[in-house]
């Protein structure tokens, strides 16, 4: 089922270019600086560091391949494809896999990436599919630490300037084995609220800004260039410290009118879901119930309960959803009181970081601070076990939306983006 879904649904990081076909037909130009603003505040691009902030993790996983590459990559259908490794085979004892390194790969400092013997041995007797999936993950990226402590990769862009959580300047890697990217540089301003991003975009201070899912329709109507991804962000309720009982969690899940939120607050962007992973990634998300049943919810809460409710009040997507959930919950006898500090219940946005279910679940377990799912026959079983163990209540899967200036072309991966009139920038 998973493979069928993978074949039929676009990959998570494959961002759709919605620009007109006429523009796509134009010939790409080299040069220019792309200015991007994001809400996330990434503290490190090191693939080995897993940020605790979901937004930062999502952004890191999105940009990291432009700087650090893996031996294997997954295509838009989730299938492993050669990348820094051109081929692989097992050794004679069938106890290890030998990955042949791509030749003429230059690190960001100009030196050549050359593993000893031109190959990398991976001692692992698991099925090759699992090994390849793991090697395609961000944590398996090739990172070389320079003498000055800086991190060197092989990706199309190198880190030219790094101010943790504030600013990242990426410069084109001229000796990139896949060819120099179109952009000369990328300036990424981090920690910018959606309001600030919109303001900067209006005055031309930036070329690409994030927009809330519910606003995806509005720019279209105004004719503004925009782009959106597949639903790669999950809105969910999480519970801290086990203070909330299972019946209360279930009552809360049953009391939420997801349809009203989806129709009104999200303007029908994304999808309603009771699953951790979006439908395009697994194809079975409809198996997880997401319907409202207020009668049953009231039965599960015989006496009124009050829970503290935490959410990011500055988040224009989360705040109205949280307020609506509080209204819904009150009907079942559960009072959700907003709390700035510790809270019994939290409404969060969790990123779907990979186009592979297992890799995505791996990052989710890290964010939910639960044990990784035990090996199961399929990802559905693993996902169900993860929901049961963490108590998380998935609500929606939302696409990522971008507003783009008129000069941005081919908005997808950074190495594929080019600027119209870029040399003039």
């Amino acid at each position: 089922m998973r493979r069928t879904a993978l074949r039929s649904i676009a990959a998570a990081n494959a961002v759709l270019a919605l620009a007109a076909g006429l523009e796509a037909a134009r010939r790409p130009r080299y040069g220019g600086e792309l200015r991007v603003e994001v809400r996330a505040a990434i503290t490190s691009l090191d693939p080995a560091v897993v940020p605790e902030d979901p937004a930062a993790l999502g952004a890191q996983r999105q940009w990291m391949p432009s700087v650090f590459e893996t031996l294997v990559s997954l295509d838009d259908h989730g299938r492993p494809q050669p990348w820094l490794a051109t081929s692989w085979t097992h050794d004679t004892t069938r106890k290890a896999w030998i990955f042949q390194a791509r030749k003429n790969v230059k690190l960001h400092d100009g030196s050549t990436w050359s593993p000893p013997g031109g190959a990398i041995a991976v001692p692992d007797d698991r099925p090759i599919e699992q090994i390849l999936r793991e090697l395609a993950g961000a944590r398996s990226a090739v990172v070389v630490k320079a003498e000055d402590g800086s991190l060197l990769g092989t990706g199309p862009f190198r880190i030219a300037r790094w101010e943790a959580g504030k600013l990242a300047m990426l410069a084109a890697h001229d000796q990139y084995w896949g060819g120099r990217p179109f952009l000369d540089s990328i300036r990424i301003q981090m920690g910018r609220s959606l309001t600030d991003q919109a303001s900067d975009f209006q005055i031309g201070k930036t070329d690409a800004v994030e927009i809330a899912a519910r606003d995806l329709r509005a720019p279209k109507q105004r004719g503004t260039a925009m782009a959106s991804s597949q639903p790669t962000e999950m809105v969910a309720l999480t519970f801290d410290g086990g203070r909330v009982t299972a019946p209360t969690r279930q009552a809360l899940a049953l009391s939420i009118d997801r349809t009203a939120i989806f129709n009104v607050l999200l303007q029908k962007q994304g999808e309603i879901s009771g699953a951790l992973l979006p439908r395009w990634l697994t194809g079975y998300s409809f198996l997880f119930p997401a319907e409202r049943d207020l009668v049953k919810a009231k039965q599960l809460v015989p006496a009124p309960q009050a829970l503290t409710f935490g959410y990011d009040r500055q988040d224009a997507v989360i705040r109205p959803i949280a307020e609506r959930i509080a209204v819904n919950a009150s009907e079942s006898g559960i009072t959700l009181r907003p709390s700035a500090g510790g809270a019994d219940v939290r409404l969060v946005r969790l990123p779907v970081t990979a186009s592979d279910p297992w890799l995505a679940l791996q990052d989710l377990t890290a964010l939910l601070k639960v044990a990784p799912p035990a090996p199961a026959a399929n990802s559905y079983e693993a996902e169900k076990a993860l929901i049961d163990s963490s108590g998380v209540i998935p609500l929606f899967h939302l696409p990522r939306g971008w507003m783009l200036s008129s000069k941005v072309r081919n908005w997808s991966r950074f190495e594929e983006v080019w600027l119209d009139g870029g040399a003039a920038q």
């Binding site: 519910r214 009118d257 109205p320 209204v327």
Partner: protein
């Protein structure tokens, strides 16, 4: 308690009482004046409050109408606006609350609670009121809890929707009234919220009785609340109901702090206490000075009276003033002069009477023997020629000698009374004296009188002249025996009394009249046929020489009792013992 002390207390209490009365009267009149002024101020504040509320109601109605006719609301009704578009419209119309609802009251967009879209509007108002009411008070639910607001409802989009908007009844409304210092306006909102210009009022439940009164009477009510244990925290309130369709939707309260009034009352009281205390001090000083002027002459008069009572009729009081006290002193002096003159005259008269009595008694005593002497001598003269002369002579001479003996006896008694010797004191046992006297006299009258002795069991020894004491006691016993010619009981009782010895000699005879008792100790007075009237005089003389006292008590038919009190010692009286009283 002395007269001076009484005067001082009276004057002090009078001053203090007067000050207390004045202080109380001033406090009461002050309180009434404050009450009147405060009530007028509160009334004025409530009028101002109502006017402000009415003005704001008009403003709210205007703003809701503005919102209802805005293009934004038209877009909301048409479904062409975002779910929270009402926030923009509310901000434009400067409304705190705004709900755009369908005719069935389903919320399309809510400014104050955007998340309630799709829910029924619940402003606790009946649906039919939406069309009929003008501006009214309503409790509006918000995420933070329900709040009261001035609200109005107007149709929008040609009746396809309704716009319900309102403005919060905030402390700012009360602050805008600009109340005078010491006053404040409050607003009670159901179910029990109370706000003033500073925000929510704590301890609002203390206003519950006043609110209850307003609720029950549906009219004005007054009352006061003491917010803390300090009385200065008291506040007087005038409450006015706000009703809608006969239902109490709020209560306006105008409060006046009583701290100023209580402070003034306290100041008056403090002043009164200070004035009262000063008055008491001044009163005491003046009273002391006055009583000194009044009581000193009175004390002199009292001293003079005591001197007169002690027998000093020459005592005089100095006359220091011409007022009533001076007249009293003059009267006292005149009284003592008259008493002195009367005593002199009484002494003179008594002397004359005594001489007359002495002469009468002498005449009587001497006349009795003289008559036999005359008869006997005449018999001798007649018998000188008869043969029986010798026998008559013998009998006559014997009679003459006997009568001469009587004359001699009579003269001896008078001589003895006149020459009463000074007592020779020695320690004697009174009981022994009594036993000796009884023994001597009971031998004579053994058959008719029953003697009874009730002698003191303790020490009954005193310093006395035993012969004189025995003679005095003998006279009393003889008198008692004479009083009981047909027999009776003679009781002699001795006992210790008041540091001395008391003797009581009682008979069971016929007794004496009161006049007889008063004259009994007068010399030469007697109730007996053959008495000289000197017996009891001698008894009194002896008792007096022993610095004692004698008294008599008698009742008709129940006998007579003589009581003699003698001191134990005569030391202090030794100097005067030789001088008869």
């Amino acid at each position: 308690m002395t007269f001076r002390t009484k005067l001082l207390l009276i004057s002090s209490f009078t001053v203090a009482g007067a000050v207390a009365l004045v202080t109380g009267a001033v406090s009461i009149s002050t309180r009434r004046a404050f009450d009147t002024i405060d009530r007028e101020r509160r009334q004025a504040l409530l009028v101002q409050f109502r006017d402000e509320l009415a003005a704001r109601s008009v403003e709210v109605a205007r703003r809701v109408e503005l919102a209802a006719s805005s293009p934004g609301v038209q877009q909301i009704v048409a479904g062409a606006a975002e779910y929270d578009r009402a926030q923009t419209e509310a901000a434009t119309a400067d409304l705190d609350f705004l709900d755009v609802v369908e005719p069935n009251l389903t919320i399309i967009s809510s400014a104050h609670w955007p998340a309630r879209f799709g829910y029924q509007n619940d402003w606790q108002i009946a649906p039919n009121d939406w069309y009929t009411s003008d501006v009214f008070l309503a409790r509006i639910p918000t995420p933070e809890g329900s709040v009261m607001a001035l609200t109005a409802v107007r149709p929008a989009a040609g009746g396809k929707a309704l716009v319900a908007g309102g403005r919060r009844l905030s402390p700012e409304l009360l602050k805008s009234l600009g109340v005078a210092p010491g006053m404040r306006a409050l607003l009670w909102l159901p179910p029990g919220e109370v706000i003033d210009a500073e925000g929510s009022v704590t301890d609002a439940q203390k206003l519950a009785p006043l609110i209850q009164e307003v609720r029950s009477t549906n009219g004005e009510a007054t009352g006061s609340v003491q917010w803390t244990s300090d009385r200065r925290s008291s506040e007087a309130f005038l409450a006015l109901p706000i009703t809608r369709a006969g239902t109490l939707t709020g209560v306006l309260l105008a409060g006046t702090s009583l701290s100023t009034q209580l402070g003034l009352e306290r100041s008056i009281l403090r002043t009164g206490i200070v004035v009262g205390a000063s008055g008491i001090v001044i009163g005491v000083l003046l009273g002391w000075w006055t009583t000194e002027r009044i009581t000193r002459p009175v004390e002199r008069l009292a001293a003079g009276a005591r001197a007169v009572a002690g027998g000093d009729l020459s005592a005089r009081v100095e006359v220091l003033s011409r007022d009533e006290i001076g007249e009293l002193a003059q009267a006292f002096n005149r009284m003592t002069e008259q008493l002195l003159e009367q005593r002199e005259r009484a002494i003179q008269a008594e002397r004359v009477a005594a001489w007359r009595e002495l002469a009468r008694r002498l005449a009587h005593e001497l006349k009795n023997p003289l008559f036999p002497l005359q008869i006997t001598i005449e018999n001798l003269q007649r018998a000188r020629e008869s043969s029986e002369f010798e026998e008559v002579f013998r009998e006559s001479t014997a009679t003459l000698l006997a009568e001469l003996g009587n004359l001699k006896t009579i003269i001896g008694r008078f001589s003895d009374f006149a020459k009463m010797p000074a007592p020779q004191f020695e320690t004697v046992d009174v009981n022994e004296i009594v036993r000796g006297v009884m023994k001597l006299n009971i031998q004579v009258e053994r058959s008719k009188v029953k003697p009874v002795l009730d002698l003191a069991s303790g020490d009954a020894r005193i310093q006395a002249d035993p012969d004189q004491l025995r003679r005095a006691l003998g006279n009393l016993v003889l008198n008692a025996l004479d009083a009981m010619p047909d027999g009776g009981t003679l009781l002699i009782r001795t006992g210790l009394h008041d540091g001395g010895v008391r003797l009581e000699i009682s008979d069971s005879g016929q007794g004496l009249t009161e006049e007889e008792c008063q004259r009994l100790f007068t010399p030469y007075y007697t109730t007996k046929q053959h008495g000289t009237g000197l017996g009891l005089a001698i008894v009194q003389s002896v008792v007096s020489d022993h610095r004692g006292k004698i008294s008599v008590s008698s009742a008709a038919g129940r006998g007579t009792t003589f009581t003699i009190d003698l001191p134990v010692s005569q030391v202090d009286s030794a100097a005067t013992a030789g001088e008869p009283a």
